[in-house]
Symmetry: C2
Subunit: 211 residues, 2 copies
DNA sequence: ATTAGACTGAACCCATGGGTTCAGAAGTGT
DNA sequence: ACACTTCTGAACCCATGGGTTCAGTCTAAT
């Protein structure tokens, strides 16, 4: 991660952006573990291996530290999930749609419910009262982005006759709901079995009749 | 709400439990609006029309104030939703299951997504890191309780031949997911159309074939 | 009338933590 | 050698707010 550019500080010779990202990552980890109010900037600095004034040198105050940390993590989660959804392209256009959907959806379920994704949603909701735009921004970068990519794939499946004609956005919403709902803050459940049941139900509702 | 028992204080002659409940209700309203850390006990006292030491007279500290306020509201939400689900008894055993499910599920959707229900979930998730048992308790009092009642009704429908044979718990989970997912922090959407689409998809997946 | 219990209001103590300041150190470019 | 930049670490200021104390008040019960 550290581009080997020397920067003039007495430490690890990371680029400024790397240093900034290290601060954001440490902040996200701490916020996720302790919450906004219970995390002090001092700890963030320590976690990132940096002095407190350095944090304020990169981020204006605690609030923007929170915003940028959460948004940065949301981008990671969104990108990961979208990449998985887009793999649905090659695999699902031939053979049984159940088998075609099953594997990527399982992977999506895991990615959508891993530690980081859960923390992102939690942090966005937790401070939705004070930072409503942050909640909207996170939703944009994760849920909506993923849903949009999924709708795109589903529309293609519908065109190929694998799904009955439907509103792809709504169908994507329903499939994501079937994946998300049962896991609502229960990391002990197995994402794979959840995913399989979701695909089963989804295809019974949305699959074309010649199955 | 005020049982007319005089209590010895200079005020409204409410029973002790009423006073306690007033504190919890005011606390819940403020916590929902501002969040845990941003709400000070002084404000809670003011909102409840009470002095600060009185709050500490009824609740041991801010933490238990939060816990009891949220749990109390969760009980209200759970009871309201369960009552609606149980009305599904009389209406859905005759006629088209689509029509039979539609009305109560719409009402459930509204109840499940009203202001208080949303606030309860938000507050539980927001402090899940610090009060994990509170999150579990809220889940118990709302989601699990409602799901259980719904599974009971669905099992009955399956026995009556209105649904194909299925695991009622899983079916209830899926129906609730279809109701909840699309609304994930979007109060602007209409619960009724969400509910209709959910029932539509649910019945296509779970309805018996002679529809 | 007196006692007992709950409430008030205001002051108070004190820990926490956001944000700043500053002197000095370390490295870079010229 | 020089200035420039960035970071450090520690001290510092100060607002917030949890929790307590206490003297005084009101009402009900005896």
């Amino acid at each position: 991660m550290g581009s080997e550019v020397s920067t003039g500080n007495g430490r690890k010779a990371r680029g400024r952006d790397d240093r900034r990202q290290a601060i954001l990552d440490g902040a996200f980890a701490l916020f996720a573990r302790r919450g906004y109010a219970q995390t002090c900037v001092q700890e963030v600095a320590q976690e990132a291996g940096v002095a407190k004034p350095t944090v304020y040198n990169h981020l204006h105050d605690k609030e923007s530290l929170y915003r940028e940390a959460v948004e940065s993590a949301a981008d990671r989660v969104g990108a990961r999930c979208v990449a998985i959804v887009e793999q649905l392209r090659e695999v699902a256009t031939d053979g049984d749609p159940r088998a075609g959907l099953g594997v990527p959806i399982r992977r999506l379920s895991r990615a959508y419910h891993d530690e980081e994704a859960f923390a992102v949603r939690q942090l966005a909701i937790a401070e939705a009262g004070r930072f409503p735009d942050l909640a909207a921004s996170v939703r944009e970068r994760t849920t909506l982005r993923i849903r949009s990519a999924l709708a795109d794939r589903l529309a293609r499946l519908a065109l190929a006759g694998r799904l009955r004609p439907c509103d792809p956005e709504l169908a994507a919403e329903h499939l994501l709901a079937l994946l998300t709902g049962p896991l609502e803050y229960r990391p002990d459940a197995d994402p794979a079995t959840i995913a399989d049941a979701a695909v089963e139900v989804f295809l019974r509702a949305y699959g074309s009749d010649h199955a």
